[in-house]
Subunit: 309 residues, 2 copies
């Protein structure tokens, strides 16, 4: 690989360093065209470097509102009503770009976010992006925390509390580590103290492949266990350092790690699972909770871009 | 359970038979309210029997267009432009009801469709629906079949070609069978011969948790295998009776089976995976392919409702 000029985000100096490529696929270079099918984008139909070359932050998130919020926070020119969905030709994902921030929905569950990540990482490669930080912002069930707590993920763990992700490749199981960037996590925790109404902790996040039976909920269409068995599982999770439960973090951490992307997972808890299963908090309170990880990540971005000290 | 009056779909006689409940959860009856969170519906906020009591067919499908198509095919009164998304308060799923047909999106991958199925099965329970048939209609990669072939699933198999689904419940792995309704599959195959341009086969469908590495694609952000290794995996799949690959069928089959729902999976192939990985067929051709399973299922519904002989 040739040395290239690299502008580190939040760094005032530039330097020649070795290029770190995000993709890990020797086949890509021999392809005449690369169609990012689920994004409705392609290397022949779209000028990806021109469209995305300046991206420094990716934020897989289900809401258009974050893009508009970031646009206001970064005081960017133009009307927020003009921000359009770059993936509007497909109903699979939504994608918004405001300044150096790319905000993309990822659907629910490991398979859905993994398709998005494959195509996003290829997009960053084709667009020749450098020094990207990627955040997953979302919601989760809390384990022993009051609703509304922001959890920055230390390790993403599976249903057996192991910090690993099992990827099936051609019928063989491959184990990948799910460690996230420690510095970004600590920096986020530090910034959280500067924000009002943002109770924040660092802890392990359990990623399951099912919202009901897999997370020990008693209110699914299927349930074969007792309240006591549910609580025992949650107690074991808590003892393993699990502070919240969601459905995407392990593959997110694993893929970003393999692909040299600095990554963080920031999710708010919508309920304390020791107290119940149903999300019955009023809609406006839930909306306020959901803004907390957004505000924290926006604060991080503004710090890194030097917009606030 | 008390015997109840049951009107079998497509049956001219009614009879007292034992009630078959779809849900398998003893906790549900003790809940004062049941919030179907991801549908933005609830037992206290919505009259579910009034809204959904007449449903006989469920069709998890990503497109609003199917609801409009069915509305026209069943010659229902009212304007198709008035068909509204019942889940419009959330961006997670879309749901359309036309006559006795409920059409719901399910996102991509096992976790996403499983959340939808839990809440759909509870919805059918709360709405006191009977004799429901559920179809998954979608797209897939073909294994040795020309693009545009409709595959009716015999058995849904996992990445190791086993007709089973592994569900993690409270940290323990439970195995569930993925057999589908043989009669519905045979009936669909028979009707396919009555339709133009609908090449159709019955075969096994492999369900993976990943679109790229898990399906042996060479064009993901990550790829650690050769073209020959990919082709060898596809050959083994073919020898195991696999005719197409998608990402939802095992949990769909497993949950419907446990919950006494007659179920079928009908997916069109968008490409022959022995010939490539990228979906590069022109958009209008893909759209025509995607209509084939829809037309076949619509034909089935019209036959069952006695609209055609």
């Amino acid at each position: 690989m040739a040395p290239i000029l690299l502008n580190s985000m939040g760094n005032e100096h530039s330097d020649y360093i070795q290029q770190e490529e995000y993709v890990k696929n020797p086949h890509l270079d021999s392809m005449e065209e690369d169609i990012l099918y689920h994004f409705n984008l392609g290397t022949k139909t779209h000028d990806l470097p021109q469209m995305f070359g300046d991206v420094k932050v990716c934020n897989p998130n289900r809401m258009r509102s974050f893009a508009q919020f970031i646009h206001e926070e970064l005081e960017l020119p133009g009307n927020i009503a003009d921000i359009r969905d770059i993936c509007e030709g497909t109903d699979r994902y939504s994608m918004y770009k405001v300044g150096p921030v790319l905000s993309i929905s990822h659907g629910m569950g490991v398979p859905s976010i993994s398709i998005m990540l494959h195509e996003l990482i290829k997009l960053l490669y084709h667009a020749r992006c450098r020094d990207v930080i990627i955040f997953r912002i979302g919601t989760s069930g809390g384990v022993g925390l009051p609703a509304g707590t922001v959890v920055i993920t230390d390790k993403a763990v599976d249903s057996f509390f192991r910090p690993q992700f099992e990827q099936v490749v051609l019928g063989k199981v491959i184990i990948r580590s799910t460690e996230l960037d420690e510095d970004v996590a600590q920096e986020l925790l530090q910034y959280s103290s500067e924000l009002p109404d943002t109770p924040t902790v660092i802890g392990n996040t359990m990623c399951t492949h099912d919202f009901y039976e897999g997370q020990g909920r008693l209110d699914g269409a299927l349930c074969s266990f007792s309240t006591e068995e549910k609580l025992e599982y949650l107690r074991k999770a808590s003892e393993a350092g699990v502070r919240n439960i969601e459905m995407e973090s392990t593959v997110f951490a694993a893929m970003c790690r393999v692909c040299n992307l600095k990554a963080a997972v920031v999710c708010v808890t919508l309920l304390n699972r020791f107290e119940g299963d149903q999300i019955s908090t009023p809609h406006d309170v839930l909306l306020e909770y959901q803004q907390r990880p957004q505000c924290l990540v926006a604060h991080f971005i503004k710090k890194r871009l030097g917009l606030i000290s």
